[in-house]
Amino acid sequence: MPSATLLGQALISGVLAGGMYGLLAMGLSLSWGLLRLVNLSHFALAFLAAYIVYELGTTWHVAPWWSAALVVPAMFGIGAAQHWLFDRFRVNELASLLITFSVAVILEAGIQLYWTADFRRYETPYSTLSIKAGPFFIPVLELALCLVAGTLAWGTWLWLRRTFVGKALRASAEDADIAAAYGVNHKQLAYLLSGIGAAYAGIAGTFIALIATLAPAEIWTWLGVVFAVVIIGRLGNPLGALLAGMLIGASQSVAMAIFSPAWAPVVSFSILIVVLLWDPEWL
């Protein structure tokens, strides 16, 4: 039986790892839930952002936060431009899945062309910094990621529920025609939302550059688990996405501590099946 320290440490690691799932899931959840577009290129955009942060950091010695200040608005622009194409060609939910998959494959090829297929690692002084809290260690970068993800999730959730723009977006997702009858310009709002989703990919990418390994094929690494997170957290719900991410991260990590680490992926998809079958009202 694992010790309490091991379980506690595993729980901390899992919740913090879940922050990354949640952050990646947020943009996807907004796009899927409120625009009815399943944007698989979200993962590729996050990795493109990660590679740019890596390049700026290693070649030009730009601090990651300054890189983020450049990358995130750029991603917003890419997201809005992408939506222009979706709108121009009247892409529906199913078609979006195929088209954005193709976009992701093209981006992957582009990344490989420029940065090669080799593994890249952005070593920074804070890569291995931890805070000691009793017998536990809390990694600083992962903690920062969770704080950023938490702030974004709360901010976006409040924005969607308390502001006119947010309510208009939700109304359009429910019934675009009725919302339009009340003066909601869905098209304009969709550009904004698509840009925000891509900007979140930019933020996730900044942390990916600092925490993870970069290789073009890694784009697909989190696809399965993030999809599970989006569905468990409910479409269009950023707070739900973050909490679901943390739930899955913590469950996987505790499973790794108690059983074999190879069981971790089984845990996330088992939770997904249970939630879909159970479908609790409070969720």
Partner: protein
């Protein structure tokens, strides 16, 4: 008189120049450039997909070898043309592409792809058409059951038994030999295969296996695994890792303020682990490093310089030649030796020649008359010392002044 001496001197100078030119030109004249219809050698590499990191290395090594072979006599006087396709790191794609290479592109010979799964897929096709297939990266030799498939790397027929003992011998030589071990491995088949062997051999030698853990290949979250390793606190940590998994694990351990005492990594990305702040004294498997005695092997210095130049041009982050690149060089050295030895492009004759002869390669003298066409095992151990990989075991392969450093 003066004129005669002058004329005599002129004649001597002209004769000398002519003789010099003839001497310089002689090798080129004697070995006529290959001509005629090219000999097509087909193969796939994982140019894209999750194994693509290695393809850049293999492609450069293959290009160096094809140019070198063509600068000699090609294959039987004909130029060699390498028909390379991208199997996208997918075995099913490798299978289809080898089918295409043989039936549509009509290649004369084939070279194997990279990694166990694509090799197995391609081997089925090679067997159907009776083609000789030389490969350099099949980590599970017992799966190479096709009698015309040959290894270009000296894994030996049972690396799961021989190599763990090389590692345990090395560990037994340090002042405080490990009494406990944690075996942690990716579920990638060739890594898992070696991990099982390590567990078994360690137990057989009385080293207590405190933990045997498997994780999904490509895992990114090593927090909980690191916590388990830290709690076990073994004398020796053996990691069946691929790519950057070792870097991620060592970072996760450092975040817990823990550094493993002695640690071995099976197939890590060599550059990033050597350069990592956590990589110092890490141990790893190898067949060769660009150091003595290996650099004295024929052609090795030239290959190393050529590889560095081309890898830099290709923007590869790690430009030092290593066992991966030399595996591909060895493949081509074998094929060239077999074609010249058999004096034929016929697969049956080439296979027969390989089974009955030894081949001198950059990876040593290889023979193919053992089980699964394997010869002697020659896996070694290298260690990160001052951000560079150095062969440290067996001792006779360590460069002068280099020795295994224990924690």
């Amino acid at each position: 008189m003066i004129e005669q001496i002058g004329a005599w001197r002129r004649r001597r100078v002209l004769t000398g120049m002519a003789a010099g030119t003839a001497v310089l030109a002689a090798p080129a004249l004697l070995r006529a450039a290959p001509s005629g219809k090219p000999v097509k050698v087909g193969g796939t590499l994982s140019l894209t997909g999750f194994l693509a990191q290695t393809a850049g290395i293999h492609r450069i090594a293959a290009e160096i070898m094809v140019e070198e072979i063509n600068s000699r006599n090609g294959f039987l006087g004909r130029p060699v043309e390498y028909v390379l396709l991208d199997d996208q790191s997918k075995p099913e794609m490798a299978r289809s592409l080898y089918e295409k290479l043989i039936t549509v592109d009509k290649v004369d010979l084939i070279q194997g792809p990279y990694a166990t799964a694509p090799i197995l897929a391609a081997m089925g096709v090679a067997q159907r058409y009776g083609k000789v297939m030389i490969q350099s990266s099949m980590g599970i030799p017992k799966l190479q059951t096709y009698d015309r498939a040959f290894p270009a790397t000296p894994f030996g027929p049972e690396p799961d038994k021989t190599y763990p003992n090389v590692i345990l011998d090395a560990m037994a030589s340090i002042p405080t030999p490990p009494k406990t071990i944690v075996v942690l491995t990716s579920k990638f088949p060739s890594a898992q295969f070696m991990a099982k062997g390590m567990q078994k051999e360690a137990e057989a030698r009385g080293v207590k296996v405190m933990l045997y853990l498997e994780y999904e290949s490509g895992n990114h979250d090593f927090g909980a695994i690191a916590a388990r390793v830290k709690e076990a606190n073994p004398d020796f940590l053996w990691v069946g890792s691929l790519g950057l998994e070792s870097n991620l694990l060592l970072e996760a351990l450092r975040k817990l303020d823990y550094a493993p005492k002695n640690h071995f990594h099976l197939y890590p990305a060599p550059g990033p682990l050597a350069l990592s702040p956590d990589g110092d004294r890490a141990l790893c498997s190898t067949f060769l490093e660009p150091d003595e005695p290996f650099m004295s092997r024929p052609g090795m210095k030239r290959y190393a310089a050529e590889f560095k130049e081309r890898a830099t041009k290709a923007n590869l982050p790690y430009t030092t030649i290593d066992a991966q690149a030399c595996g591909m060089i060895s493949e081509w050295q074998m094929l060239e030796a077999a074609v010249n030895g058999a004096v034929s492009l016929d697969d049956a004759k080439i296979a027969t020649w390989l089974k009955t002869h030894k081949v001198d390669t950059v990876l040593g003298h290889l023979r193919f008359d053992g089980p699964y066409n394997h010869g002697d095992a020659s896996q070694m151990i290298k260690q990160v010392q001052h951000k560079e990989w150095k062969v440290v075991w067996p001792k006779e392969f360590a460069a002068p002044g280099v020795k295994l450093i224990a924690s």
